[in-house]
Assembly symmetry: C2
Homo-oligomer: 195 residues x 2
């Protein structure tokens, strides 16, 4: 196959990360997620722990606090710096060849790259809840709360850095409901499209 | 295959109607679009011409005009009546067996039906423009204007009757960019999913 960069955005609990990993395996191409975090940590001077926590949920704070806290004299915050570091890493990774990149606004960062296939994975609440309960040993109420909070943060972060609404079909090549389609079929459709 | 209702929402010029027709052919199941208009015309007492013009673009008028014009003593407008007639027809069609239904908020009308596969087809502006120029003998400027106006009306109509935003990935099983994926591959993916 010709060079293909597959970016995956996903709702929490939709299995998007798993689907991304399996697509990368099926196509025998690199998969980037934690690796991006590690690379960003090395290059930025920020701690890996900070980056893992903040990497996708950057500017979540009150607008008042945001305006005055944690900014340098140019107006850039530590969050903005981290986003900039991650963006450079994603551009560098994409330049190297075919790969799968999960999260981190990669679809937006690479929007001028014609080799990109941008995927959005979402799912139904009952299936997502069951997955989070099982993966993180949560009660149903805790899982629902965590899903809502996490996706709210992802949507906010995406809007902040891209000025686009998260989950709008027009921003992606393909959007799939993994609860209805099944993970296996999602993997098959995405891998087949890349070929 | 078990009973499958495939609803297709689509951007103007994205080839969604053609894709829907070809999916129905591939699966050898009925395709509904103009047929709905004809049925609605028969049952409503409204002219087929009025329905064809208004069927998907109902409440497009100023909010002031909407508040005072064309409503009966219950507050229902002719537009609302037409939507209600079309809804009943769609529910009736879906009860009869597998089919493809294009447009007319069918995804929302059938949202409780577990046999539904809801599809959203969109595309890139250059490809959509070229298609509309060729199909309707328009200049580039005319085609762009027509695409924007038609999709604006569709989005408004969808919002009005469903209270949902048109084109949000989460409302669909599958969303496809037909310019990137190609019509043929879209048809293949949808037909395969229904099987």
């Amino acid at each position: 196959m010709s060079k293909k960069i597959i970016t995956i955005s996903r709702e929490f609990g939709s299995g998007g990360r798993y689907i991304g990993e399996q697509v990368a395996k099926a196509l025998n191409i690199p998969y980037y997620d934690k690796k991006i975090i590690a690379k960003a940590a090395e290059q930025s001077g920020l701690s890996e722990e900070f980056i893992e926590k903040k990497g996708e949920y950057s500017p979540i704070k009150s607008m008042f606090a945001y305006a005055f806290v944690g900014r340098d004299s140019t107006g850039a915050s530590l969050d903005d710096y981290l986003f900039s570091v991650q963006r450079d890493i994603i551009l560098d990774i994409a330049a190297q060849g075919s790969c799968v990149i999960v999260g981190r606004c990669a679809d937006y960062i690479l929007k001028e790259d014609p080799s990109c296939i941008n995927i959005f994975i979402h799912g139904n609440m009952p299936e997502k809840t069951a997955r989070i309960m099982s993966m993180y040993e949560k009660t149903e109420a805790e899982a629902v709360k965590l899903i809502k909070e996490t996706d709210k943060k992802r949507a906010f972060n995406y809007k902040y850095y891209t000025d686009q609404k998260w989950g709008i079909a027009q921003n992606y090549t393909l959007c799939l409901n993994s609860s209805q389609i099944t993970y296996e079929k999602c993997i098959e459709i995405i891998a087949d499209l890349a070929k």
